[in-house]
Symmetry: C2
Subunit: 154 residues, 2 copies
């Protein structure tokens, strides 16, 4: 990555974080940060101090909200079209292990052909649906596995 | 309900809300309030100002967090045992309609025999599992349907 590309990448992460904080106040209250986006994965973090539960580990509601945001953020970056609306239709989440310390949600971009079909349908009819997976790490493996179905609308 | 019972009921709602705010900081950041508990349903609310999304309706992450808390709160009230730990294992949520204005999550107590079996197992082995349903109202019907599997541990 050239120095210029690196600067523009950092600017994109900042823009995305600012957008989330401005549009979705809970993301600010949670202290969500857009950590990395390499075109394949988007990583969001949130500090434990603002997101713990009664046991001192990550609160399930914070984990589901962070995962929901990670999928939403990935689509926002993928579509690049700031006039599109992205909404979540359904999701399921499995809490496998307690998450200690910082919450770190990783959304993996689906296979290229899935993303291509999603974008083509969105361009053609102004509405398309896609399922995204998000994981949150914990000691010893995945702490959380999340799957969300999102719809993009024009 | 006598005047005294009504006072003690109000105190229980306040105690539950204070407990959530103290133990789970996100519930305070969301402005969660324990509105009613009649032994059959527990209702939690949260203001739209703190929980909206980019479209001005309720953010999916706030809805899932509020639903998660409603199930948690119902078990906390049911068990009455402040030494038990309640954790969520998995959940699924379906966003059926946009939720405008205040978020209002209603957790319905399961059938009496389900609750009795859950409490008996918890008393016997110190660990029991139960599935709870939560809905959030919207104009025209349910805005959200949530189902969560919780585990109580001693």
């Amino acid at each position: 990555m050239t120095h210029q590309a690196s600067d523009s990448h950092a600017a994109l992460l900042t823009e995305t974080g600012d957008y989330l904080h401005r549009q979705i106040p809970l993301s600010r209250a949670m202290g969500v940060r857009v950590q990395t986006y390499d075109g394949e994965t988007l990583t969001l973090t949130a500090p434990a101090e603002l997101n713990h539960n009664h046991l001192g580990t990550a609160f399930g509601g914070s984990l589901s909200a962070l995962a929901t945001l990670a999928g939403y953020g990935l689509l926002w970056l993928e579509l690049g079209n700031r006039d599109s609306h992205i909404v979540i239709r359904r999701s399921r989440i499995h809490y496998l292990r307690p998450v200690h310390g910082e919450l770190r949600a990783v959304c993996l971009r689906p296979a290229a052909e899935v993303v291509t079909a999603f974008k083509a349908k969105f361009a053609r009819v102004g509405k398309a649906r896609i399922t995204l997976g998000v994981t949150v790490e914990a000691d010893g493996g995945n702490g959380v596995e999340f799957e969300g179905e999102y719809v993009a609308l024009r």
